[in-house]
């Protein structure tokens, strides 16, 4: 069974003036232990596809199946909390929480006491290559690459088997892009994660295990 499966997924943005069909029947599947790159031009629908996989909304038609269960049939809050971890291009860290607290947050959402999740947060931060001193720092004190590593650490802290990354290297230089990809690739290949990266960086596409090219809302 695939980790993820999209069956004829369509999605429409309604505006005052007209409806915009972002996805026009996307069908594809994702397996654990592999790195996928979803590539396409701007406005092709790749971020919409990732958002639906992340459970931010339900498709207008078609289905998104996670381990064989449609997202339409489950509690999306719980789904987002326990089944998928998302990494955003702009990192999306809580500005008033330290690095450690940001990483601890999804653990706390699952009911783990702050004191108990703190060591695990330290371990995850170390795993993404940040020094221990970074734990008490606030996001505003970190560089873009460092913030993205924290975002990856937070995703790891969610203990899911799926990591969805929306342009995780979009704001990073070549060196940092390489480092971030390495971390994600390790997670897929060593720890069995299903890593889906939305990107238009051909280098990442070239290094991914499989590439889906999306054009005008369809997998081409």
């Amino acid at each position: 069974m695939s980790a993820f499966e999209l069956n004829d997924v369509k999605y429409v943005y309604k505006t005052k003036y007209r409806d915009v069909q972002a996805l026009k029947g996307v069908t594809c599947a994702f397996e654990e232990g592999r790195v996928y790159a979803v590539m396409g031009a701007s406005g092709s629908g790749k971020t919409t596809m990732l958002s639906l996989m992340a459970g931010l909304d339900l498709p207008t038609s078609g289905s998104v199946l996670c381990e064989g269960v449609s997202t339409a049939d489950i509690d999306l809050e719980k789904y987002r909390r326990e089944r998928v971890a998302v990494i955003y291009q702009d990192f999306r860290l809580f500005p008033l929480l330290t690095v450690a607290e940001n990483v601890m947050y999804p653990m706390e959402l699952r009911g783990v006491k702050p004191r108990e999740c703190k060591p695990r947060a330290a371990e995850l931060v170390a795993r993404v290559g940040l020094p221990e001193t970074a734990l008490d720092r606030f996001p505003a004190m970190l560089s873009g690459g460092e913030q993205q590593r924290v975002a990856i650490a937070r995703a790891l802290g969610m203990d899911t088997k799926v990591i969805l990354a929306d342009e995780p290297t979009g704001n990073l230089d070549e060196e940092n892009t390489g480092k971030i990809f390495d971390i994600l690739a390790r997670l897929a290949h060593e720890d069995g994660y299903c890593v889906v990266i939305v990107t238009h960086d051909e280098n990442i596409g070239a290094r991914a295990d499989e590439v889906f090219r999306i054009r005008d809302g369809r997998i081409g």
Binding site: S51, A54, D57, E77, R92, F94, T98, E101, A140, M141
Partner: protein, 1048 residues
């Protein structure tokens, strides 16, 4: 292009544009209506200011029913003490005219009103003197007591139904009585004679038959001779002369310089003193009173509309010598408007205004107007100037001209600066009553205007912030495209001003259309409100009616619409700078804000996130407490002020004792009245009346202190006048019923074991049954300290006086009365009144609550009264009546009850011809002022509630809205909605509570909080949190995909 784009951009944002358009439109409509109503009321008050004339009369509290001719030493002393400089300096006093009345003689004027000292005097030639008629009298005696030589006129036998007494001893039924005639041949009663010539007689009595009464002159005529003599005309029906249809003339010394009589031997031989006396009488008896004032329209007679002009106009204030004259004076002297007439000033004797003599000064009067004919005002001049030639007579000390709008306050102030025993009465022609509803409506309109203006200011600020201030992104784009700064301004301002300008103009137009109808409503509303001062002392005198102005002024509409547009423009320009600032980075330096602190493991769940956000929020965490602190302070201070007003009002209602009293129909006199006992009973039953106090006054004198006036008829009249001008024996049920204690609380030293209660409880038997007369012994009484000192009376001591009463027919009789001093009071003024129990006039049960009129009002089949005690219970008339209002809350009920029972109001006769006035001036003033403050306070509270909600909402909205990304992230990470909600809610609640607590703590040093203040703070917190909840809920309902699309 820029204008088009600016307008189009906003038109396309339909939601917010419609919201703010509606808000500005509604606020402009309400502001326009409020400003219009306020302007309407202000112009109505200004119209009243122009058409009403308020004056205050300063009077000395002297005689019961004061005569303007009285020569009262105490009144003169008070007049001397009167500081007109202080009166004139009181705010609201325009001018203060002291008493100024002079007497003049105008050649050719005959005074029709013959009430002068010399009115009945005569200097006449008596001829044809006939035989003398001697004094005779009649007496009833028992037939058994008759002496042989007595001339019996008739016999009667006493019937069993009669009560008859001779020499104080009851005569049993069946006794035969005889009426005996006695004649005293040693004393001539009168001579039949004729007046053949009058040197002076006020009504031109000459060539007429008269009864010549020699009195005590010793005049014995020689047969056939004529005499010139001075004396008094007693009238045809005088009790001192025979009743034979002729005028009675008594020889009497009326002018010291001339002999009583002398033989008449032709007009040329009459001695000069007779001619001088006649000349003096002629001038003095045809006196003309001239009343002076700075502005004669302020004189009560004109101010109250008793007199008005038939011709010409009133002289302008300060037009020295300008005058208006009475119709009879103008007619007799042939005066027309524009004429100048010269009068001879006469001096009055200090003891008698009519005892006149030439002052050796002439004065010119310029006739500016002639008043209507009036029998009450003959031989009068009202002139601008200062008078002279006479001291004060009567009790009116000064007339004060007042500015209408400050009249009530000025009178209150004057009461504080005037000498003891004087009173100030306001005659405002109903100004206070007329403008009161206009003032209330204007005040309410001002409050509404203020609230709306504040609301508009807040809304426009928000509007400018949303439509201009938050447009940094657009500004940034325009700047990046090289758009000139002016063009950017044009773009943004045209869009914003299109909304606010159109809304304000349409709002103003709607207000314009609605205003005439609103004016009509106000006009009808003021008619309804004008009954609020019924029976109040603040509405004495005549009431002038003014039609409310219903003219329409477009000014408020224009001002409100222009103010909204201008204010929005100013705010937009201010926020334009803000938008530019937000879009333009500082050159060379970027400042990164980093929160403080280290990783924490404190707390769990929502509380943890809220705690960390509060702790690390930096300036953001200070905004909310600072705002809450400031608003809490405002709420507590305003709440304290409001509570203070409310407490004062409650206290005023709880503690104020309002009294009322019966007055004369013009409201000026409150004792010496004739108040029917049945009206008093009705008053007692009126809802809202507490205690009722009444008094009955008669005169008394100390035997031996009466003046020597001789035994002639003229002398008897003078003696009776003296007796009736003395001090009073006042029977009353409470000292407050006495005039002496009208304005001052009685201070009495009591004999041990006695108190004021005896006045209502002590029963005097002799006044219930005449046969018990003299069996009561000494009557307990309260005497003046001065009188007791002068007559050597100690507390507990007894003293006898003669009580004097005048019957309806004018007959004066005395009877002895012994009083026992059980209390002494400090005398105010010149009268040493004696206060005795009310039962000296009416029986104890006459004013009982369960009084049954049928027991004392029995009548036979023809309607004749057959109850023996009818006159004791039913035909009693009190001299004064005062009462207390059961509580200030009952005031309105009492007004309605008095009206229902038909009691008269001052100037308005009702079914019951007893005029009632409530002494509620100060109370009304206080409660109206506090009421205005409280209604303003309520509006302020409403405003604060609205502002608080608005600010709470805006601040919460800004605080939460600015963190949409955090919100989105939490949801994206799968946090439950409740957890997210509480994370933000707890943070806001903690910050708000901290600010409020700090505000309370700081202000607690000013004293304890009232429940109202704490409740207001509580409401503020709730409103703030409501704003927080609403904004969190709004974000919570936003789709997650949209939230993730939000830019920071």
């Amino acid at each position: 292009m820029y204008i088009r784009n600016g307008i189009k951009t906003n038109i396309r944002s339909r939601g917010r544009t419609a919201l703010f358009f509606a808000l500005i439109f509604m606020l402009t409509v309400v502001m326009t209506a409020a400003a219009g109503v306020r302007g309407y009321c202000v112009s109505a008050i200004e119209k009243c200011d122009g058409e009403f004339r308020s004056v205050a009369l300063i009077e000395y509290l002297g005689a019961e029913y004061p005569s303007p001719d009285e020569a009262d030493a105490d009144a003169r002393a008070a007049f001397g003490e009167l500081d007109l400089g202080a009166v004139g300096s009181v705010k609201g006093v325009k001018t203060a005219s002291p008493y100024a009345r002079s007497v003049f003689y105008f050649d050719g004027f005959i005074q029709q009103k013959r009430n002068a000292l010399y009115k009945d005097l005569g200097v006449v030639v008596i001829s044809g003197i006939g035989d003398p008629h001697y004094s005779e009298w009649f007496k009833t005696v028992r037939s058994s007591d008759l002496k042989g030589d007595e001339e019996v006129v008739s016999y009667i036998t006493v019937d069993s139904d009669w009560m008859f007494a001779i020499d104080g001893e009851e005569v049993p039924p069946g006794t035969e009585l005889a009426t005996v005639r006695y004649v005293d041949y040693s004393k001539v009663f009168y001579y039949s004679s004729r007046i053949s010539y009058s040197f002076y007689s006020s009504a031109g009595k000459s060539e007429m038959l008269v009864n010549l009464l020699p009195g005590s002159s010793g005049f014995v005529p020689e047969p056939g001779k004529s005499y010139v003599m001075q004396g008094v005309f007693l009238g045809k029906n005088s009790s001192l002369g025979p009743h034979n249809g002729r005028e009675n003339f008594e020889i009497n010394k009326v002018e010291d310089g001339a002999p009583l009589y002398e033989e008449f031997d032709g007009l040329d031989t009459v001695s000069q003193p007779f001619l001088d006396a006649a000349d003096k009488f002629l001038r003095a008896n045809n006196y003309v009173f001239a009343e002076y004032a700075y502005d004669i329209r302020d004189l009560l007679v004109f101010q109250q509309g008793e007199l008005y002009l038939n011709d010409g106009a009133f002289p302008e204030p300060g037009d020295e010598g300008g005058c208006v004259v009475s119709a009879d004076l103008a007619k007799q002297l042939g005066l027309k408007v524009g004429d100048v007439v010269t009068g001879e000033l006469l001096s009055s004797d200090p003891s008698n205004v009519y005892d006149l003599s030439p002052a050796g000064e002439d004065r010119d009067f310029h006739v500016r107007g002639i008043v209507k004919e009036s029998n009450d005002y003959t031989g009068r001049i009202w002139a601008v100037g200062k008078g002279g030639g006479a001291p004060l007579y009567g009790y009116t000390l000064a007339t004060v001209s007042l500015e209408n709008r400050y009249a009530e306050d000025a009178v209150e102030t004057l009461r504080g600066v005037l000498p003891d025993n004087t009173r100030v009465s306001l005659f405002d022609q109903g100004y206070g009553e007329t403008v009161k509803p206009f003032r209330s409506i204007a005040s309410a309109a001002s409050d509404i205007l203020f609230v709306c203006a504040a609301g508009a200011a807040a809304s426009l600020t928000l509007f400018a912030f949303v439509f201009i201030g938050r447009q940094s992104y657009s500004v940034k784009i325009m700047i990046s495209l090289g758009t000139p700064r002016k063009k950017i301004a044009l773009w943004l301002l045209s869009g914003a001003m299109m909304i606010s300008g159109t809304a304000a103009l349409l709002g103003g137009t709607a207000g314009w259309i609605a205003l005439p109808k609103v004016y009509e409503l106000v006009a009808s509303g003021t008619d309804f409100a004008s009954s609020a001062r019924r029976y109040s002392e603040t509405s004495l005198g005549v009431t002038h009616t003014v039609t409310a102005e219903t003219g329409f002024s477009p000014l408020p509409v224009a001002v409100c619409a222009a103010a909204v547009i201008l204010f929005s423009l100013v705010l937009c320009v201010v926020f334009l700078r803000y938008a530019h600032k937000g879009a333009t980075p500082k050159r060379g330096v970027t400042r990164v804000r980093v929160p403080a602190g280290r990783t924490s493991a404190a707390l769990r769940g929502s509380a943890r996130f809220a705690f960390l956000s509060v702790r690390r929020g930096g300036r953001g965490s200070l905004v909310v407490p600072a705002v809450c602190f400031a608003l809490t302070a405002v709420i507590i201070v305003l709440g304290g002020v409001y509570s203070g007003w409310q407490d004062q009002l409650d206290r005023a209602y709880e503690e104020t004792e309002i009294r009322g009293h019966a007055v004369s129909t013009d409201g000026r006199y409150y004792s010496g009245l004739l108040i029917d006992i049945n009206h008093v009973r009705t008053l007692k039953k009126a809802e809202g009346v507490g205690s009722v106090w009444v008094s009955y006054s008669s005169k008394y004198y100390v035997p031996g202190e009466e003046p020597k006036t001789g035994s002639s008829g003229f002398g008897q009249e003078r003696l009776n006048d003296w007796k009736l001008s003395g001090s009073d024996v006042v029977s009353l049920n409470d000292l407050h019923a006495a005039k002496d204690f009208f304005y001052k609380e009685p201070v009495v030293k009591w004999l041990e074991g006695w108190d004021e209660g005896f006045l209502a409880e002590y029963e005097c038997a002799q006044f219930k049954d005449w046969r018990a007369y003299g069996k009561d012994g000494a009557i307990p009484a309260v005497l003046s300290e001065r009188f007791m000192e002068e007559h050597g009376i100690a507390l507990g001591g007894e003293y006898s006086v003669m009580r004097t009463e005048e019957t309806e027919g004018g007959h004066v009789f005395d009877y002895p009365m012994t009083v026992r001093a059980v209390g002494s009071y400090k005398q105010i003024g010149g009268k040493a009144n004696i206060y005795v129990p009310l039962t000296c006039t009416v029986p104890l049960d006459a004013l009982a609550d369960d009084y049954d009129p049928s027991l004392h009002n029995k009548r036979d089949v023809w309607g004749n009264v057959i109850s023996e005690d009818y006159y004791l219970y039913e035909r009693v008339y009190f001299s004064s009546c005062r009462f207390t209002v059961s509580s200030a809350d009952a005031l309105e009920t009492l007004r309605a009850s008095l009206a229902d029972h038909g009691f008269s109001r001052v100037g308005r006769l009702g079914m019951i011809r007893t005029t009632i006035v409530l002494e509620d001036g100060s109370f009304i003033k206080l409660t109206e002022t506090l009421g205005r403050y409280i209604s303003m306070g309520k509006a302020m509270m409403a405003l604060i509630a609205a502002v608080v909600m608005l600010i709470g909402f805006i601040v919460s909205w800004l605080m939460v809205n600015g963190r949409k990304r955090e919100f989105a992230l939490m949801r994206g990470l799968g946090a439950k909605k409740g957890r997210i909600f509480f994370s933000f809610f707890l943070e806001q609640a903690a910050l708000c509570a901290a600010g409020c607590a700090a505000g309370c703590l700081v202000l607690s040093v000013t004293g304890a909080f009232s429940l109202l203040q704490l409740a207001a703070v509580g409401v503020f917190i709730l409103l703030y949190l409501a704003g927080s909840v609403i904004s969190t809920a709004i974000i919570g309902r936003t789709k997650l995909m949209e939230l993730f699309a939000v830019r920071e």
